[in-house]
Structure formats: structure tokens, C-alpha cells
């Protein structure tokens, strides 16, 4: 699934991936792949900048963690991020219900017996 297809829902998806607990960039990309059954495989140039944007908006908090050999930039939801995720879920439920209804095959037109 391409990034353009997810446009408008990327923020909610990233917030949802971070909901269970703090995570770092590569683990977030992996979680997107695993949780979508491989359907969502977003490029590095989409995921990392989006995380930075969410941080700027105050929806996630980022900090360097680890010591010695490898340090990772770890992201976690802020209270505002949890609130925004609730909103994204609600919006998605309304949106998907409406689109599902619209995409249903239309019933055959009534046939006039005459």
C-alpha cells in the first residue's frame, strides 16, 4: 500500500502504533508492516519525517535513550497524542462506514411487470 493511499490517515496510524508503549523509528516501521499483515510498508522518507512532525505538534515526545554503543531516538504518545488518536479512530469509523455503504453493489432496479 503506497503512502499516497494512506494520505490523511498516516498520523492516526503512527499514533496507534505508539499506543502500546514507546518505540523507535525502525521498530515503528516494522510494527506497521506486521500489524497490517505486510500491506503497509511505508518508506523511510515518509515515516521518520512524520514522526518529527508529530513531535513538533506535541502529539508525541521524543528522547534519546540507551547508552554505550547504540542510542535510539524513542517516541512515545503524549496525553494530547492519546486524545488525538481517539479523534482519529472516531473519524475513521464514520468515514469507513460511509464509504463502505457507498461501495456496496447497488440493488437491481425494480422491474416494471408491464
Amino acid at each position: 500500500m503506497r503512502a499516497e493511499t494512506l494520505k490523511g490517515h498516516l498520523d492516526g496510524i503512527l499514533l496507534a502504533v505508539l499506543e502500546p508503549g514507546p518505540s523507535h523509528g525502525y521498530a515503528i516501521m516494522e510494527a506497521l508492516r506486521v500489524r497490517s499483515g505486510g500491506a503497509v510498508d511505508l518508506p523511510t522518507g515518509t515515516v521518520y519525517p512524520a514522526l518529527h512532525r508529530l513531535e513538533r505538534a506535541g502529539l508525541v515526545r521524543a528522547s534519546w535513550s540507551g547508552s554505550g554503543g547504540r542510542r535510539r531516538r524513542v517516541y512515545e504518545l503524549t496525553p494530547a497524542g492519546r486524545h488525538a488518536l481517539d479523534g482519529e479512530r472516531s473519524t475513521w469509523r464514520d468515514f469507513s462506514a460511509a464509504v463502505t455503504a457507498l461501495l456496496q453493489p447497488a440493488p437491481p432496479p425494480a422491474v416494471n411487470p408491464s
Binding site: 523507535h24 523509528g25 525502525y26 521498530a27 516501521m29 516494522e30 518508506p43 523511510t44 522518507g45 515518509t46 521518520y48 519525517p49 518529527h52 512532525r53 513538533r56 505538534a57 506535541g58 502529539l59 534519546w64 554503543g69 547504540r70 542510542r71 535510539r72 531516538r73 494530547a80 488525538a84
Partner: protein, 239 residues
């Protein structure tokens, strides 16, 4: 973040470092923005390499697979351009808003210690100054006002309001450039007034506060001009 980037690469290896250098070369903006991004990507690449090794690939192939997974350096760099523009504009705006009152306070303290005016009357009514200088002081409100408004817009459009507003990194970069050039105008006007006062009454100015204010204004003018230019360059790359 910058401090982290100065550490030696942990165990990236030539392939990873070469890949990161290719990304860094394509990233716009100042070094502080690029170094934080490459440090984060390095740790991600090492995690990806570990994952491929755990899946059974030998070290060199695991590194190549991780690099392949992260993708074309040009595309990775392109993805960061808007974010760097927003962060740059925000940083420029904050620095201008913080340094403006400091430089202004230095000029006012110069004026007071030089006995150019009295505290309870605004500077444009000080009778010790010539009419032209008083008029020029009034003019300062234009560049100072533009700096403040553009900087406030830059901060507002790159902060928490982006939760509800559409992302507009190009507009933020424009605001950063406008604020920077307006600050250049304010400092240039302040320095011109200083020079005029030096000519009109040499020896009247208290030397130490005057030197401090002039130095601060010159430094701010140079840095603001550089920052504004950077904002314009990154704005062009967002076209």
C-alpha cells in the same frame, strides 16, 4: 542531538556511513538539522541490519539489505525537506524574538547611560536628539513590528496549531525569511542612528554600553541575514 552526532559512528561500517553521507549531502538546511537526522537514521539502519542478520543473512548482505530497505538517499532526503524547513523557520523565529528585546535593551541602556534622554518619555520625544534622529527612531517600529509579527506567525504555523491546521512549511519558511530580513532592517537602522549620533556629538556616548550594543546589533544583523537567506533557499527547494 548535535552532541550525539559528534560521537564516532558506533559500528556503522563504510557502507552505512557512505549511505548516510549521501543522504546528508542532499538534505537542505543547517548542520544541526542534518546531524540529528543522520544520527537517528544510523541507529535505524543498525537495527535493520540486526534484523536481517537474525533472519540468517551474513553481515555484508544484512547491511546491504538494510540500506536497500531504507531506500534511495534522494527520496529519503526529499522526505525530510518540509520538516527541516518548518524547524528552521521556527528556530529562526524564536531566536529573533528572544534576541530582539536583548539588543533593544542594550541600545536603551546606552542611551540612558549617555544621558540622551529621560526615563518617563519615549525616545522619539527626547529633546537631546535631533529631529531627524527622533523621526528615525519612530521609523524603527516598522522593521521591529514586521519582525515580531512574522516571527509569531512562523512559531504559530510550526507548533501545536499544526494539529488542526494543514502543514504549510513553505509559508513558515517565508515567515522566517521575512522576520530575518526585517530584523536586519531594524539592526541596520539602529546602527545608522548610532553612527549619526557619533557624528553629531562625538564623545557624548557612554563607550562601553555603546560598544556592547553596536557589537550585539552587528552580530545579530549578520546572523539574521544568514538565517533569512537559509529560509529562502529551503523555501525554494519546497517549490
Amino acid at each position: 542531538m548535535t552532541g550525539l552526532s559528534r560521537r564516532p559512528p558506533p559500528d556503522g561500517g563504510a557502507a552505512v556511513e557512505g549511505y548516510l553521507a549521501a543522504i546528508s549531502a542532499r538534505l537542505p538546511g543547517p548542520a544541526w538539522a542534518r546531524s540529528g537526522i543522520t544520527a537517528e537514521l544510523r541507529s535505524g539502519l543498525l537495527d535493520a541490519t540486526d534484523a536481517h542478520r537474525a533472519a540468517g543473512l551474513p553481515p555484508a548482505e544484512a547491511t546491504a539489505a538494510a540500506i536497500g530497505e531504507f531506500g534511495d538517499p534522494a527520496l529519503v532526503a526529499d522526505g525530510f525537506t518540509a520538516e527541516i524547513a518548518a524547524r528552521l523557520a521556527r528556530r529562526v523565529a524564536v531566536i529573533l524574538l528572544v534576541t530582539g528585546p536583548l539588543v533593544g535593551a542594550l541600545w536603551l541602556s546606552t542611551a540612558f547611560t549617555s544621558h540622551l534622554g529621560i526615563h518617563h518619555v519615549p525616545p522619539w520625544e527626547w529633546q537631546n536628539l535631533s529631529g531627524a534622529v527622533r523621526a528615525a527612531i519612530r521609523l524603527l517600529v516598522v522593521p521591529v513590528g514586521v519582525t515580531v509579527w512574522a516571527a509569531l506567525f512562523g512559531i504559530a504555523s510550526t507548533g501545536r496549531l499544526t494539529r488542526w491546521l494543514p502543514a504549510a512549511p513553505r509559508r513558515a519558511a517565508t515567515a522566517g525569511a521575512v522576520a530575518g530580513f526585517a530584523a536586519v532592517g531594524a539592526d541596520a537602522l539602529g546602527l545608522t542612528l548610532f553612527a549619526a549620533q557619533l557624528v553629531a556629538g562625538p564623545g557624548a556616548l557612554a563607550p562601553i554600553p555603546a560598544a556592547a550594543a553596536a557589537t550585539a546589533s552587528i552580530v545579530r544583523l549578520i546572523l539574521a541575514r544568514r538565517a533569512a537567506h537559509r529560509c529562502l533557499v529551503i523555501r525554494a527547494s519546497l517549490a
